[in-house]
């Protein structure tokens, strides 16, 4: 299982205009100005490619914070 720090870093890397330090585990990611349907798509691919975890759009919709997203990998890979 990947660490929270590794996951956070990968997630921060999806954003081009938002400074990494503005995105933390407690951040409500859908409130980030840069968040879009394309970022959601990138997030799903990130889960698949970097964390070997299949995630669907509904799970992204249901998550609020970055840590909620991390917990998806934790649940599926435990």
């Amino acid at each position: 299982m990947e660490s929270k720090e590794t996951f956070l870093e990968a997630f921060q890397g999806l954003f081009d205009e938002t400074a990494p330090e503005e995105i933390q585990l407690g951040t409500e990611f859908k409130e980030i100005g840069e968040w879009s349907s394309l970022t959601a798509l990138a997030t799903i691919v990130m889960f698949e490619e970097q964390f070997n975890t299949a995630v669907n759009a509904r799970q992204i919709d249901d998550a609020k914070t970055v840590e909620d997203l991390y917990n998806i990998t934790a649940t599926q890979n435990s």
Partner: protein, 246 residues
């Protein structure tokens, strides 16, 4: 068009395990055609065959990305009057998330396999003079919808290939056309869980006539396969419920 239009014609369809391919097989069987069907999944291939209640049906289990499967398939097929190249994968991702594996994966199925299949059928003289070839492309090939780069590019390549093929085969009266559907409600789309139900519902608002169904495609394919379309080749038929009007 009467049901005798395609009676006895030898028609080959790829990707019949679900979606448009399955409905094509089911509906074209009603024209009493001699169907030759291929798919990768044996169980789902047989489910499709059970839906084909008229004419005759021969099945071929094959992975078109496998060279040996492709060779066995093209050896086994008879000389064909109609070919529908429908097999494909839907893959949505932003450009910056593209990997070589994803790139190869999409093009291998959506483009390479179709090109190599046609090449082998021609080489083995398995396409009858006067035959009709129909590629299922996509309206994505004409657009720039975010997240569709790989899929759209693979379909655009397919559409371009079909046009050149049409000109090369015209002397033998073999016709080649593409159908470019917009979003059609199929299991491939429904199973593509990268798009939420809410997002799909919202996106449908861009379709003046709503999303299509596989049945919307089959009538057009039957027409292109028939002699009634004898003057059509190199055409790309967009079927998108008005999506491109805006």
């Amino acid at each position: 068009m009467t049901t005798s239009t395609l009676s006895g014609k030898k028609i080959f369809i790829t990707g019949v395990s679900s979606g448009i391919g399955r409905v094509l097989a089911r509906d074209l069987s009603q024209y009493s055609a001699e169907l030759h069907l291929t798919a990768r999944n044996e169980e789902r291939l047989h489910e499709t065959i059970r839906l084909c209640t008229q004419g005759t049906t021969t099945s071929y289990l094959a992975d078109l990305s496998s060279t040996s499967d492709m060779q066995q398939l093209t050896d086994a097929l008879p000389v064909l009057d109609g070919i529908i190249l429908n097999a494909g994968v839907v893959e949505y991702l932003p450009v910056k998330m593209i990997s070589e594996k994803k790139l190869r994966g999409v093009f291998s199925v959506n483009f390479d396999a179709n090109v190599l299949l046609i090449q082998q059928l021609l080489k083995k003289k398995k396409i009858a003079g006067g035959a009709s070839i129909v590629f299922i492309s996509s309206v994505s090939a004409h657009m720039g919808v975010p997240g569709t780069a790989l899929y759209a590019a693979s379909k655009a390549a397919l559409t371009a290939f079909a046009k050149v093929l049409a000109s090369e085969l015209a002397p033998r009266k073999i016709r080649v056309n593409t159908i470019s559907p917009g979003i059609v409600k199929t299991t491939a789309i429904e199973d593509n869980n990268k798009l939420s139900t809410d997002a799909m519902t919202e996106a449908e608002k861009a379709y003046p006539l709503g999303y299509g169904t596989a049945e919307d495609i089959t009538g057009q394919v039957a027409y292109l396969l028939s002699d009634q379309a004898r003057w059509m080749t190199g055409s790309d038929i967009v079927m998108d419920g008005g999506f491109m009007l805006q």
